[in-house]
Symmetry: none
Subunit: 417 residues, 2 copies
């Protein structure tokens, strides 16, 4: 079963507002085994709305529309949906009477414009709305389902939970969806694709999508099954193959960020760390300290932007900088070891490079970065030439440092980092 969600209302297309219903519905439907294939936000225009309903009913088994069920002139959902289905609207006097009574209970007289909230599409089943005036509608058409719900989340959500979701679950008769995200750091997207492409394209279920960010690639797996156990097993089968294809490279399958994984490794091993950053300027410290409880493992960080600070704080010999420049393997090593020693901790990290846009040369171009580890996570240094602008270079450098730490702490083969 595939769903499409329509959010109706011109106000949802202004910069200040956004629609939270669609994300909520996507989430709840997925848990019920229904995949959302499209989500559309449409302005209050009759022709536009009708075309959106027609397109949605042409491709999805379940169409859920929110909004546009109010009493005003720009509440056009009922008319547009009826038009798309080629059905008529019929005023339900029972609903109108109930609305009138609702107004009376607040000591108010219902205005005639509210009467149109009693208009039902032929064949519709009413979805009661205990929290508002606009009732919802459930319409079945040739095996497909169209659901109309009001826009306010406080009205929509309980109606969906109580009356829509149970009927959807009956129809999916047990089919369940499960998703998992596999994360890989410090490996280019095209390289990951080349390795895993032949693996995941052999599977129709789960379906896999690849997402890249600076220094990170995510594999999103979505499996369908008759039971949650079956769906989980299907995911695990592919995940196991992907783990084999990328030995030791998948750092998280449960939503954790790389900084959290490294934080947990350091905490579990009761190791303290000190950081020495030049071109990343505190970005690695900021990433590691974003993890709650960072004071357990992060002893201190040095942002040694000047050459003087590198020698004063980290003991990097000035001759080393004079001889080979501040961006070199030797300086990165001396920074890592210097940070470790100055702080009196177990692990030191050193990062030095040219983030750009200035400062590059033929020999040392923008994007050249050295990352070094010293101490209990191993002694190692990596040279990388990163693409992209200043921010991307810095972010990729941080990802490489975190991945070196992870591999070092886990005792994985450093050479493949």
């Amino acid at each position: 079963m595939k769903a499409e969600i329509l959010a109706i209302g011109s106000e949802l297309l202004t910069p200040l507002r956004s629609d939270s219903n669609a994300a909520y519905l996507t989430d709840r439907l997925l848990e019920a085994g229904v995949e959302t294939i499209a989500r559309i936000t449409v302005a209050d225009d009759p022709a536009l709305l009708e075309s959106a309903f027609r397109a949605a009913l042409g491709r999805a088994d379940l169409v859920v529309a929110t909004g546009g069920l109010g009493p005003t002139a720009d509440d056009l959902t009922r008319e547009a949906a009826a038009g798309a289905l080629g059905r008529r609207l019929r005023r339900d006097e029972t609903i109108v009477a109930a609305l009138r009574q609702r107004f009376a209970s607040f000591g108010r007289v219902m205005s005639p414009v509210n009467e149109k909230q009693g208009d039902l599409i032929e064949g519709a089943v009413v979805v009661p709305n205990p929290r508002g005036t606009a009732p919802g509608q459930w319409i079945e058409v040739e095996g497909r389902v169209l659901v109309l719900l009001p826009g306010p989340p406080k009205e929509m959500a309980p109606m969906f939970e109580r009356h829509v979701l149970p009927r959807v679950q009956e129809r999916t008769a047990g089919a369940v969806l499960r998703t998992r995200v596999l994360r890989i750091a410090a490996m280019p997207e095209s390289e990951v694709e080349q390795v895993v492409g032949p693996v995941y394209t052999a599977f129709e279920n789960p379906r896999t999508t690849i997402l890249g960010a600076p220094g990170q690639v995510e594999l999103h797996l979505t499996a369908r099954g008759a039971t949650s156990t079956e769906a989980e097993e299907r995911i695990e089968r592919l995940a196991a193959r992907l783990r084999e294809a990328l030995p030791g490279r998948i750092y998280s399958e449960d939503g954790r960020d790389l900084s959290e994984v490294v934080a947990e490794l350091l905490t579990a091993r009761r190791l303290k760390i000190a950081l020495a950053e030049s071109c990343t300027g505190g970005l690695l410290a900021a990433r590691l300290s974003s993890v709650p409880g960072a004071s357990e493992f992060l002893e201190r960080g040095f942002v040694t932007y000047s050459n003087r600070s590198k020698s004063e704080l980290l003991g990097v010999p000035p001759e080393l900088v004079q001889a080979g420049g501040a961006v070199s393997e030797e300086v990165a090593r001396a920074m890592a070891e210097g940070a470790r020693r100055a702080a009196g901790v177990d692990v030191g990290v050193g990062i030095t490079g040219i983030a750009g846009p200035g400062g590059g040369s033929a020999e040392k171009p923008v994007g050249l970065v050295y990352v070094a580890l010293a101490g209990a996570a191993g002694d190692a240094v990596r040279r990388r030439q990163f693409p992209g602008d200043r921010e991307r270079v810095r972010q990729q450098a941080v990802q490489v440092a975190l991945e070196m730490l992870r591999r070092g702490l886990m005792g994985l083969d450093e050479a493949t980092t």
Copy 2:
């Protein structure tokens, strides 16, 4: 001129991810006088994508699609758009050669899967992508325009600003729109609204929208005029009134970030700065070092997460921490002065606080932060109680530090910060 925006990618329909491009594009198009009538997010499915393109081209004058231009098997935008238009794809060898060169410049060999990124729809004009491998495409069809852009916002936004928006503006001809963004730091959105609301609501042209982020408020002014001079004058008239209403608080009207403004002030005054951060853990250093040329003014930064590092590196007396805890006015002052003195520079900054989620108490709740300045930007300390989670607290603290620096360096009345 009416627009429809397509966000392409199955991952955008999972609970974990959301699409920020559509809101950005809606905003920018509106400023250019183009109304967005529909916004759709579509899964990576060829038939679905083609139907979405066909529907959009049937109702909008301008269709902007983001995503699905990568090299992998589920990057289907090119094929689907070509199908909807009834046009062919043609491999552009110039693009492929440029891609190959791009890979070579990073010392890597391009994988064959990347070649399809050189596929152009017949009649397409290439939209260059300086930050990534996927070029965009601009296609005109019977008076309508279809634009294909990559999904990553860092690639998409500059391409849109530089190559798409100017062409859209040519087409909206006649009426000219001009926009300006006024930025205010370290002042709650509701306070800004209270002060400026009565001012801007008196103006129909320019139109003003307010956007808030942690520690920052933006006023977006959009004016319409027969000429650009008229539109500029209208904007300046309102901007002048807003400057009066918020004396000294608007830090930028030309797109500069607060860190850039502070960087320019420090550079112009030839002042060197040193930072001492506890709860912000390097975030202030990362912000200031994100500005190109930061080595001109940033001498060093200390991330003094442990109490030991506060005393060893900054000379904060251990008694001070023992007496009043690490989060106090006195410790913040001692950190700022200690950083300045240890580095032998003109300006020092100290930040200490409780970012949460743990570590709070009745007396010192989560969100309590002290920020101190020492030296050539003045000696000052501010106590703030920030709302929000760990990341929001940290970001707000950084904004307060930067705004204190800006006001101190400009000699503005510190008391109002």
